[in-house]
Symmetry: C2
Subunit: 226 residues, 2 copies
Amino acid sequence: MEAAYASRSSAREMVYRSLRHDILHLILKPGTKMSEQEVSERFHVSRTPVREVFVRLFQDGLVEVYPQRGTYVSLINLANVDEGRFAREVLEMAVVQDACGHLTRDDIINLESNLAQQEICHDNQSYLQMLSLDDRFHAALFRICGRERTWQMISQLNNDFFRLRVLRLSHHHDWDRIIAQHRAILDAVKENKPDTAAQTMQEHLRMVIVERKRLLQEFPDYFAQP
Amino acid sequence: MEAAYASRSSAREMVYRSLRHDILHLILKPGTKMSEQEVSERFHVSRTPVREVFVRLFQDGLVEVYPQRGTYVSLINLANVDEGRFAREVLEMAVVQDACGHLTRDDIINLESNLAQQEICHDNQSYLQMLSLDDRFHAALFRICGRERTWQMISQLNNDFFRLRVLRLSHHHDWDRIIAQHRAILDAVKENKPDTAAQTMQEHLRMVIVERKRLLQEFPDYFAQP
DNA sequence: CCTTCTAGACTACCATGGTAGTATACTGTA
DNA sequence: TACAGTATACTACCATGGTAGTCTAGAAGG
């Protein structure tokens, strides 16, 4: 058996990836109506694969389907954000402590290189690249501990958290603290200080709690009522 | 806006729930072939909703789709089991520590009642009920801490872990330790001993690691090669 | 002007037919 | 017997037509 379904470039897969990307990056804004008809015309495919994409997006929590009424990009649910953040906090504190033990030479080079690129981003103000680097920084810590799948799992469940990060990074360019915290985490891991590393990670992941209020005021119609 | 898609009883939803249940409870054994045709005839619906159900099951990791070749119930992936177990361990240790603080009278009644029913199950040897009670016991701890969604999230990702538990509970009726550990956890929480509670929870969730080897030998064709 | 009712234009849902690609069983050949 | 080539019966994939349910704009009545 060779390549499975996911890796194939079917019409369904193309549409799914495109819509998923656009929703996560807020190109399709929360609350936007999406009809089978419209999407199928836009991508020049029939309605069947579009329906199947909607099923997948619904499974991801990215759209809400109201039968005979319409399909809408789901609003950002702050309760989901908070629980996703909690899961990340607990898991990443454990992971970063574990990483203190086995950090290879290559790992250090990789993480240092990532941080250097973050600095460059800070000058460029390229938030898309910053987002990607941030993800890769955290993913690397999981990979070091042999917990790559765990990262993938919580990533899947943190779609709302992701959208909040997009909103934050794209509208407020106060990335100094973020980068400083990444630096502090890396240093603590390198110096084999698990407690400091965990502490800093916790602080890092709790930043969003404060930012939340500001974003809620600034973009009230992006969020679901709690 | 009222009820959303998920709660409706469409053909798709019926078929999805039925197949999902059968796969998770090993009624449909890992590796079994499932064709659109066959399933659509069995449920007396057309192939379109069946296709959409396959998409959802694929998203859940419960089936693998090989285009133009067939759709198969996915084998149990032990790497997935282990990472899911790790996530549960870390999260549940945090949750059970947190639960020590705020345990209401109703919570105690609920959990004690659950444990009493587990004892009854132990006599009846009803593994399906035992499975359900076990899930509800752990879910209750999350709910107490206001982390119900977190439980739902990790449940979604622990399908392989779930199937391993089904295998274990249905074929080996050594439930004494499981029930005893639940009792120990509850007691520790009641007596406000967070460290003991966390420790016992860790031990509890690590039991499956040992069982794994036995099950792998007993049902080799249920598992994917690592 | 405000409310009630109705006709029409949507929506997602499901059935069905056709297509390209894959696996397999069979046939012909050495 | 062993093997190569081919026909056939599958598979999932996609296009399209019809249907019941929902929303909305405009007419009718107060």
